[in-house]
């Protein structure tokens, strides 16, 4: 299938943000410098996240209530479809995803003719990210399961740095899980099992510049078991 090549202009950057006033300004100015069209989805933020985003000149979707990352992303996907973008790239608002890697994702999607390209923190083995042993084991199990579903080597199934292209983007704009890991792991499983081409490239992340991760290890472990069961029993969102 011949598809429209992805360029900086037809790929929308979607930044889901919940109370990221401290870091979002820097992320957006970096995106603006590189000339990427961007939409920020403020997921029920109660701080100045949306105001800062508006002031930086990007489009802002302000969700009246908190829907979770998956909910925020689906709103972003809908925005991309309504404005005829060919793909989106999901970028975190905490500054962990280097903007310089965005072009790598676009190039990989074009070269590999992929519907989804995941930026992996672990693909090249040089990650300095510190994770607990429980988390490391669960991440490996999830990666193994995602690799099976996508028929591709996935080392980082929970990476929030990824490119999603039409027609998969259109499907996700209608059906996209909003539960924990629904936007990352479950989305991979759904895409893989629906026959879409999923590929992974190396994209090391930076340490969070401000704040800390919102979930504790115990919470993450329990939620991971839940989402793994969802995948095992094939209860994931059908796209």
């Amino acid at each position: 299938m011949t598809r429209q090549p992805l360029t900086k202009q037809n790929v929308l950057i979607v930044v889901p943000a919940l109370n990221e006033a401290a870091s979002i300004g820097e992320v957006l100015s970096s995106l603006n410098e590189h000339g990427h069209p961007t939409v920020v989805v403020s997921d029920g933020s109660v701080d100045a996240t949306a105001d800062i985003a508006r002031a930086s000149g990007v489009a802002v979707l302000e969700l009246a209530i908190n829907l979770g990352v998956g909910g925020a992303l689906r709103a972003g996907f809908q925005y991309a479809c309504r404005h005829h973008y060919e793909a989106i790239i999901q970028v975190d608002a905490d500054g962990q995803h280097p903007v310089s890697h965005i072009n790598k994702l676009i190039a990989a999607a074009n070269d590999l003719n992929a519907d989804m390209v995941v930026g992996s923190r672990f693909a090249d083995g040089s990650s300095t990210m510190s994770v607990s042993s429980i988390r490391r084991v669960t991440m490996r199990v999830l990666a193994w399961s995602a690799s099976r579903a996508t028929h591709s080597t996935i080392t980082d199934s929970t990476s929030g740095f990824r490119l999603i292209r039409q027609p998969l983007l259109g499907r996700f704009s209608r059906l996209f899980a909003s539960n924990y890991l629904g936007d990352t792991y479950e989305a991979l499983i759904a895409a893989g099992r629906a026959g879409f081409v999923v590929r992974e490239i190396s994209a090391p992340i930076r340490e969070r510049s401000v704040g800390e991760s919102s979930s504790s290890t115990a919470q993450s472990f329990l939620q991971t078991i839940k989402v793994f069961t969802v995948a095992l029993l094939q209860l994931h969102t059908r796209i």
Binding site: V41, R54, L61, E62, A64, I65, G71, A75, Q78, Y79
Partner: protein, 120 residues
């Protein structure tokens, strides 16, 4: 007073009590018509349950359990079905709430864009 009469009275009292409770909730507008009817029917089942004991006794004997246990099992199954039905309703409401929130955000963004264009 025999045990079976006591069981009839006990079931009828619980049924009547829950009927009154549901009716008060409905009067205060806390339950809509659909759920009021559902719960009143369930309360009526409670009232009738005691009277049904002589009717269900042969079935209970066949299953080698007491009529009261059979009623309890029936009640539990009914409640589980209702809980599942309510869970389905809640899941549907979550999805509708999500769509409304998304649409609101899109509309607000459109209004923002129009405002910005007009002020230029």
């Amino acid at each position: 007073m025999s045990t079976s009469v006591l069981q009839v009275l006990f079931c009828a009292m619980i049924g009547l009590g829950s009927t009154g409770w549901i009716y008060r909730k409905a009067r205060r507008g806390l339950l809509n018509f659909r759920y009021t009817v559902g719960w009143l029917l369930l309360s009526a089942f409670g009232v009738m349950a005691g009277i049904m004991i002589p009717v269900i006794t042969p079935i209970a004997n066949l299953l080698a359990i007491t009529p009261a246990a059979l009623l309890a099992i029936g009640g539990i199954i009914l409640l589980v079905v209702i809980c599942v039905q309510l869970s389905i309703s809640i899941s549907g409401l979550h999805e509708r709430q999500r769509r409304l929130t998304e649409e609101l955000a899109h509309l607000r963004q459109t209004v923002d864009t129009i405002d910005r264009d007009q002020t230029r």
